[in-house]
């Protein structure tokens, strides 16, 4: 029964929350939705910070809430990272980190202090006072503080939303390494598709207090019937491995099982897992594989379906040879001229690929 099961229904004024999902107790599950969709309320209910009128919260064989019982938050083996770091101002960084750790029995501490400090790169901050830290540093300390309680479930409520773009870019790699190194299942609340694409394995999509879809993150992000793809700014996210480096032209090749795409040279070991983002507006379609083009990345693909964005443009969802999904934004006129239809075989010409991790 290695899964996380959540069923919450609650009526607050005219807002009806009625959410049920169960996900494997591993990796990162994104709880995704616009503001006011109820995602933070769900997270708070999982933590026991709110007490919904009806609720079931189960982590593997441990029941935190059901008809008969309601464990208060301090009796639940969870870690919670709030939107603002909320460090205790009267304690130093080290004492903040130790606050939760000391309240966990020694034999239940599964994560060593030094490992967490190293993982989040905060060794140099330990003696500092919390008000002298930058926003990104604070949030890293808050994440470390939550991890040091050796939680069975890590809950993160938009931990990056209070940070500026630069601080976000600096902290994302730490979050990714959490995922790879610690193996603590986590639920990550977000309204940013790029964050979800980088961090999440699965997602639960909320709208007005209800689950409207759930499943693999990469699939959901390219589904045309969901508001996720953001239409004009739609992106696809592909999984691959670093296959080789081309030093003379300063490129790194990412292999996608049979096909490959080039990104600007990155110092990554060959064979490492890589996630790339391809924006729909950077993908054009051709019926034949041209070699007389400046475009390096040409991938054979099959049309799955199409969706009009506006009277001029449309999105085409494509399946690559390895089963991954790609989006292309073209004009409706081109689509008509090419006779694009379901099941048609085409070549996707990808102008630009961004390497995420």
């Amino acid at each position: 029964m290695s899964e996380i099961e959540v069923r919450i229904s609650n009526q607050l004024g005219d807002f009806d929350l009625d959410v049920a999902f169960s996900v494997p107790a591993q990796g990162v599950t994104a709880l995704f939705g616009s503001s006011g969709s109820g995602k933070t309320s769900v997270l708070r209910a999982i933590a026991g910070l709110e007490r919904p009128s009806q609720g079931l919260v189960r982590i593997n064989d441990e029941v935190w809430q059901d008809q008969r019982r309601f464990l208060p938050p301090h009796r639940r083996a969870l870690g919670y990272v709030f939107q603002e770091a909320s460090l205790f101002p009267h304690l130093s960084v080290r004492r903040n980190l130790e606050y939760g750790m000391r309240r966990v029995a020694e034999q239940a501490r599964l994560i060593a202090f030094h490992d967490v400090v190293e993982l989040l790169g905060i060794a140099g901050l330990l003696k500092r006072e919390t008000h002298k830290l930058s926003g990104g540093e604070r949030q890293r300390v808050a994440i470390a503080r939550a991890l040091l309680t050796s939680p069975r479930l890590l809950l993160m409520d938009e931990p990056l939303s209070a940070l500026d773009h630069r601080a976000k870019q600096l902290i994302l790699p730490y979050l990714e390494s959490l995922h790879d190194e610690l193996g603590i299942p986590s639920i990550y609340v977000s309204h940013d598709p790029n964050e979800v694409a980088r961090l999440a394995d699965r997602m639960v999509l909320l709208d007005q207090g209800k689950v409207i879809a759930s499943g693999e993150a990469a699939n959901l992000l390219t589904r045309l019937d969901l508001p996720l793809s953001g239409y004009g700014d739609a992106s696809a996210f592909l999984e691959g491995t670093v296959s080789s480096h081309d030093n003379s032209y300063h490129l790194t090749w990412i292999s996608l099982q049979g096909n490959r795409v080039a990104v600007p040279r990155e110092d990554l070991p060959v064979g490492r897992h890589a996630r790339v983002q391809i924006q729909a507006r950077d993908v054009s379609l051709a019926i034949h594989a041209h070699s007389d083009t400046s475009i390096l990345n040409i991938l054979p693909a099959r049309v799955i379906d199409t969706h009009d964005i506006n009277p001029t443009q449309m999105l085409v969802r494509l399946e690559l040879e390895d089963g991954q999904t790609l989006l292309s934004r073209i004009t409706r006129r081109s689509a008509m001229g090419m006779g694009i239809h379901e099941g048609m075989m085409l070549y996707a010409q990808v102008k630009s690929v961004a390497l995420l991790a």
């Binding site: 910070l49 938050p73 301090h74 309240r103």
Partner: protein
């Protein structure tokens, strides 16, 4: 000049006892007022604030009636075997606790409200039980509030006059506190003695307030978020 120190010690004892008792009684009241959402919250806050606006003689008068041998509290204290409270030191403590209640509850309530729910929530997700959270998070973070409450309560009790006169009278060593002693001296035209006590009170009050402002100012500066 033969100076009588007894009223000074008695006053300090009264103020000290009242402050300790009020911090114990006032903290849960302030915590509850800061957290609760019930509709009668404002009414209770107003009751707590009553001693701020009531003439001390009004408070003293009702206390006297309540604590008298045939009053409700008087009957209770007699049944408990501690006799009646008017014109005793214990009676003064009882009256001072009521009289200084807002001076403890209001600064504490403000301090608790300023904290907001977040620090307690964070601590609860870090496995701290409610009592643990209060001791390790709320008390240190609300320290300026506790300090203000204690100092204001102490100083206010020292300056108490009307209530003491109504309920305590003027028994040397039992209820004759500083303010009453000054009044006594003036009545009997012993201006030197009155001057000494009055100037002492003035200096003391100034020092207390200045210390309070200094300490709070420094604390706020070092804990600015």
């Amino acid at each position: 000049m033969d100076f009588d120190w007894q009223p000074v010690w008695l006053t300090l004892k009264l103020a000290g006892t009242t402050t300790v008792l009020l911090l114990i009684i006032g903290t849960p009241i302030a915590w509850w007022l800061a957290r609760t959402q019930v509709w009668y919250k404002q009414a209770l806050a107003a009751v707590v604030a009553l001693p701020l606006v009531l003439p001390p003689t009004v408070l003293g008068f009702y206390l006297l009636i309540m604590l008298a041998p045939d009053g409700p509290v008087g009957q209770l204290t007699q049944a408990m075997g501690i006799g009646t409270l008017p014109f005793t030191f214990e009676g003064l403590v009882f009256a001072s606790v009521l009289y200084s209640l807002p001076f403890v509850v209001q600064p504490l309530q403000n301090a608790f409200e300023a904290l907001g729910p977040r620090p307690m929530e964070v601590a609860s997700t870090l496995r701290a039980s409610p009592w643990d959270r209060f001791v390790t998070i709320v008390i240190p973070l609300a320290r300026p509030g506790f300090l203000t409450a204690a100092v204001l309560c102490f100083a206010h009790t020292i300056g108490e006059f009307g209530v003491v006169l109504m309920i305590g009278g003027n028994i040397p060593g039992e209820t004759k506190v500083l303010s009453v002693a000054i009044y006594d001296h003036v009545e009997s035209l012993e201006y030197d003695q009155a001057h000494l006590l009055a100037a002492g009170m003035l200096a003391f009050s100034f020092l207390v307030l200045m210390t309070l402002y200094l300490v709070n100012g420094r604390y706020t500066r070092s804990h600015r978020p």
